[in-house]
């Protein structure tokens, strides 16, 4: 075991517990009626710094810090360019869901994405399908993140796999379960700052070792000339550029754990600040760590596990304690994605399943306590699955991100901005989009028509949504008032008995 590397990681974990405890006390003191909102979206009080980092950390996950450098190590600079398309994610997410999403969530007290869909489409089928998608895809994705992260750590720290899994999944379950969204958001921020500072330190150390950028380029061009070509070993074409930009640039807002952040901020000013600082920070992350993957080729010409490119660079060029601090960061990237997912799944189970079908009259404080219990339970389930990942899981993982995008992107935007949008369209588009995606990746590659399947799946989802909108009946008046009217109109709605309108 390498204690000099482990000690900063342990300190970091203790810090997470402190944050969790602080957030737990904050929730305890929240007024009745606001406890559940405090637990799942931080009581809509996020300021700009926390908003930026929690948005980026939830969206970026381990891919940015481990996966992309690994691809760049193999495929060269072209892969870094491709993943840079995620840079404007904060701007696009907050602008597309927009202030309307934030205002609606305050008017109707939404704390989950499914809350929004339930009120907008008033269809049990839509709600059930959305909940199912969230639970299945996100649980699978969480397990995959832990498995990947723990395997990397095994090779670096020498600690055994089960111990690592239990430690990390346990830590995340506890601080997320008790601390809720605020613990999640604040730890994302701490982690983001570590990543930024750590990335700069790493680059300085690497350039000192190599003697500057010119020797770096010479060594790279000398020993691995193909890495700097376009497309080079990556083999990327124009269609891929568009598809990746669609999936990681435009559609990140549709991931439930990202979208939820668009209800969590304090005011317009906060959103605006996050919108223009977010792209810069995300670009620095992606470019810094991605290009580091290419440079790693100079240091380690033939790694077996390409995902070890950046971790190896860290251990090799930085002194032990500093290396540990920096390695805590990719782990934190995993944790920060997983913690936000746990909360989304927990919110879905409590609000969209438990309260919908079993206990509709649960009090606010009780609901948030049930939430804590469910969150910890999900953490434990993920832990057990990660110890011995079932084979079926990898199929779900492959579809997870694109599947969620195919399910949620169109109903979210359509429901927000198109009056005709109705339950028929939402249902057709959710089922059709995800079915097309799975069919074209698994069984019928011809359906993808030579481009990444996500593009066609989205086109199908949009067409079905519009088709359903015109074939089915227009949404009832009270839904339109709730989603377009002033608060005064909504209040007037409450005065008139609504019996029978719902079905």
């Amino acid at each position: 075991m390498k204690w000099d590397i482990l000690i900063p990681i342990i300190i970091y974990i203790l810090g997470l517990f402190a944050i969790g405890a602080w957030a737990f006390l904050r929730k305890k003191n929240a007024p009745e009626g606001g406890v559940t909102a405090e637990y799942y979206i931080g009581g809509r009080t996020l300021g700009p710094v926390v908003l930026v980092f929690t948005l980026l950390a939830s969206a970026a996950s381990a891919g940015t810090f481990i996966g992309v450098p690994g691809l760049a190590y193999q495929g060269g600079h072209a892969w870094v360019l491709v993943f840079l398309f995620q840079a404007p994610a904060a701007f696009i997410t907050l602008a597309i869901l927009g202030k309307k999403f934030a205002i609606l969530s305050r008017k109707h007290n939404f704390v989950t994405i499914t809350d929004f869909l339930r009120h907008r489409f008033e269809s049990k089928a839509v709600t059930a399908f959305a909940s199912l998608g969230i639970v299945l895809f996100l649980v699978a994705y969480m397990v995959a993140q832990f498995v990947g992260g723990a395997r990397l750590l095994v090779s670096i720290t020498g600690v055994s796999y089960p111990v690592l899994i239990v430690a990390f999944a346990g830590v995340v379950a506890l601080y997320t379960g008790f601390g809720g969204f605020m613990a999640d958001a604040i730890s994302d921020t701490v982690q983001g700052v570590i990543m930024l500072a750590g990335g700069v330190v790493l680059w300085v150390a690497v350039l000192v070792v190599l003697g500057g950028t010119t020797p770096m380029a010479e060594q790279l061009a000398g020993s691995h000339p193909d890495l700097g070509t376009l497309p080079g070993p990556s083999g990327i074409g124009l269609g891929d550029m568009f598809a990746y930009s669609l999936q990681f640039g435009l559609l990140l807002f549709a991931l439930p754990h990202v979208a939820i952040r668009a209800m969590s901020y304090r005011d317009s000013k906060t959103a605006h600040l996050a919108m223009w600082t977010g792209p810069l920070i995300m670009a620095i992350f992606t470019l810094g760590f991605g290009a580091m993957g290419v440079t790693a080729r100079v240091f380690f010409p033939d790694l077996d596990i390409v995902d070890l490119a950046v971790p190896n660079m860290v251990v090799d060029t930085l002194p032990g304690a500093l290396a540990g601090a920096l390695l805590a960061a990719p782990l934190a990237a995993i944790m920060s994605t997983v913690d936000s997912m746990i909360l989304v799944v927990s919110g879905t189970i409590v609000r969209d399943v438990y309260m919908e079908y079993f206990k509709p009259n649960l009090s606010d404080r009780r609901a948030s306590n049930v939430g804590t219990l469910v969150s910890i339970l999900i953490g434990v389930i993920v832990l057990v699955l990660a110890l011995r990942p079932p084979d079926a899981l990898q199929y779900l993982v492959v579809f997870a991100i694109a599947g969620l995008q195919a399910v949620f992107a169109v109903p979210l935007v359509g429901g927000l901005y198109w009056r005709r949008a109705n339950a028929l369209g939402a249902m057709l588009s959710m089922v059709g989009g995800v079915a097309w995606y799975i069919a074209s990746t698994q069984w019928f590659p011809a359906m993808a028509m030579g481009i990444l399947p996500i593009v066609n799946a989205m086109v199908v989802a949009v067409l079905l949504f519009v088709l359903g909108g015109y074939l089915g009946s227009a949404p009832p008046r009270h839904v339109l008032v709730k989603f377009w009217g002033t608060q005064a109109e909504i209040d007037r709605l409450g005065a008139v008995p609504q019996g029978g309108v719902r079905q």
Binding site: P225, G249, L250, L287, A474, L480, W484
Partner: protein
């Protein structure tokens, strides 16, 4: 305003007999701006990289500041420019509105047509 019976709403156009929240119009515009931004961003970054670097043999690639020239211009310069553009878009076109259900400052948010004054007035309400 005309009375609506529930059967009337079947297959007809959505009703429009209530007062709209004026803050939503700005959201629609801002969403379109973000969509347009994404299209231009994707095209420009791709075009720069492809024009400068696509299909070139390894010997032809020039390195500047440690990176291939095409990469420096697309992933570096073009991306940096597009990371700064949101600042300009927000300053010029995005509106600061109250997010509370009633909207604290009704006046400032109703005149969505006049962007500059709207922006200035709403600045101190947030």
């Amino acid at each position: 305003m005309r009375p609506m019976s529930s059967s009337d709403s079947q297959r007809s156009a959505p009703v429009n007999d209530f007062e709209e929240d004026p803050r939503y119009a700005a959201s629609v515009r801002e969403a379109w701006i973000a969509g347009a931004y994404w299209v231009v961003y994707t095209i420009v970054v791709t075009a720069v990289a492809w024009t400068l670097g696509y299909g070139k043999a390894a010997e032809e690639i020039r390195y500047v500041l440690g990176f291939p020239e095409w990469f420096l211009w697309s992933a570096g310069v073009a991306t940096l420019v597009f990371c700064l553009i949101p600042y300009v878009l927000i300053r010029r076109y995005f509106v600061e509105v109250s997010l509370s259900p009633h909207g604290e400052d009704g006046d400032a948010t109703t005149r969505t047509g006049d962007r500059t004054t709207l922006h200035d007035e709403a600045g101190d309400t947030a």
